[in-house]
């Protein structure tokens, strides 16, 4: 079952194990410059607000209602990252999950079309909590292209570049828990170690373009290989959710509430001396980026081909304040200032 609580999606599998709870939230962040330089990890600037589609059935397009799920607001060319967390069981070990993420029903790890099943080779899922977050499409080993919101129908989104169609938009997530017996075996091993509402015209919304995600600037981030092995995932139990993305005016029309302010630009943020981040986990191997995704045009490159300028404030930045995060509960260490 999936719940929406405090702008977090909570995937619970009480029928598998009481600790089997996986949380996802969508973080506002800086849009890194789309200039083919490689950037560090930008900060999280708070969660995007989310609403149940079922609460606004009279004001949303019919197909959104058919999809179910939730929706969130993004400004055009705004960026997001996905934050994963779990409910720590005893002995400090979070319950592991296999999580598939797609945008416009294009898998963000492999570039393949959506399927509900897990695929072993090439691995088409992330392993949480080993993978603490995902900022974009896996384009190369250790490199991603940031998720950037663009209107569907303009040709920028990964979905349109790979399928030639602007049909789905949004984000899609499916979560599989680890098999109970495998988790309990891991717990035993750990235990040993420890013994130490407004009315609007429906047309206004249904005619507006929904949003999709497109590949933005390059960022150093590894997508980790599954270290547990494919057989540990409980494919008899899964939960999935469709996250629709709407623009700020659609959000205001549907919910009657204003959208929170825009994130600062990467330039303003960096000039203020605020931190960027590097994440290290030397124990895990990174998977390679698939050709399908590495061949995508970034928003800036696509804009040049289309004779458009889709991104404002796209100047390079040179972060000096970089903080290192380790895999041990994402602890922050001081870096080079």
């Amino acid at each position: 079952m999936v719940e929406l609580k405090n702008n977090e999606l909570i995937f619970n599998f009480p029928q598998v194990h009481p600790h089997a709870s996986c949380r996802l939230d969508f973080q506002k962040t800086l849009r890194i410059p789309d200039d083919n330089r490689e950037y560090e990890l930008p900060p999280g600037l708070g969660s995007f607000a989310m609403e149940h589609t079922d609460d606004h059935v009279s004001k949303i397009p019919k197909d959104w209602s058919e999809h179910g799920g939730v929706f969130l607001p993004m400004y055009q060319s705004e960026a997001l990252w996905i934050n994963f967390s779990g409910a720590a069981g005893p002995y400090g070990r979070d319950y592991p999950f296999a999580v598939k993420i797609a945008t416009g029903k294009i898998n963000a790890v492999t570039g393949e079309s959506w399927s509900d099943k897990l695929v072993k080779n090439p691995q088409d899922y992330l392993v949480v909590p080993d993978q603490p977050w995902l900022d974009g499409y896996c384009v190369k080993k250790g490199l991603i292209r940031q998720f950037v919101a663009m209107p569907l129908g303009k040709g920028y989104t990964a979905e349109e570049q790979l399928t030639g169609e602007a049909t789905h938009g949004g984000l899609q997530v499916i979560v599989y828990p680890m098999k109970r017996e495998r988790y309990e075996a891991m717990q035993k091993e750990n235990r040993k170690m420890f013994s130490g509402d407004v009315c609007y015209s429906m047309n206004m919304v249904s005619e507006a373009l929904p949003m999709g995600l497109a590949p933005g600037g390059l960022m150093r981030q590894k997508i980790y290989e599954d270290e547990y092995g494919f057989d540990v995932w409980d494919q008899q139990h899964s939960s999935r959710c469709f996250i629709h993305i709407l623009n700020s005016s659609q959000w205001e029309t549907i919910t009657g509430r204003p959208v929170p302010g825009k994130s600062p630009s990467a330039t303003d943020y960096t000039q203020a001396g605020l931190p960027w981040f590097e994440y290290y986990n030397d124990k895990l191997n990174a998977i390679s980026g698939p050709e399908k995704l590495s061949g995508l045009d970034s928003v800036a490159a696509k804009g040049i081909k289309l004779g458009e300028e889709p991104l404002d404030q796209n100047d390079p930045v040179y972060p000096q304040n970089i903080q290192k995060l380790s895999s041990a509960k994402n602890q922050v260490t001081d870096g080079k200032w």
Partner: protein, 117 residues
């Protein structure tokens, strides 16, 4: 039943092992209360603090605010408002659910509906 003070002291001290900012003094400063007051709460000399303080403390200690409030014998303002709108009905529902297993209770919490993609 475990006392509120014992619980938060244990949790804070666990966090302090890895992060010195979880000292009694620094947590009290972040909560906007006197360290001596927090110390007395942790030792169960004083009763649990206000809802406002507990709501600030819960995310700091990576705890669920509803659980901490329940341990403090309190009900969050939003839950009080919800119950007061239909007190008889909610009292009846809660009593009915008293013996229900966890998975049955989870089933009546609101799910995000999955549809046809």
């Amino acid at each position: 039943m475990k006392q509120f003070g014992d619980h938060i002291r244990k949790k804070r001290e666990t966090l302090r092992k890895d992060d010195k900012s979880f000292s009694l003094r620094q947590v009290a400063v972040r909560l906007g209360i006197e360290p001596a007051y927090l110390s007395k709460i942790e030792r169960n000399v004083f009763p649990p603090p206000s809802e406002e303080v507990i709501q600030k403390l819960a995310p700091m200690l990576d705890e669920d605010a509803d659980i901490l409030l329940a341990m403090a014998g309190k009900l969050s303002t939003d839950l009080q408002r919800i119950i007061l709108e239909r007190p008889t009905l909610f009292a009846e529902v809660i009593r009915e659910l008293k013996k229900a297993p966890n998975h049955a209770i989870l089933r009546i919490t609101r799910e995000v509906r999955d549809g046809k993609w």
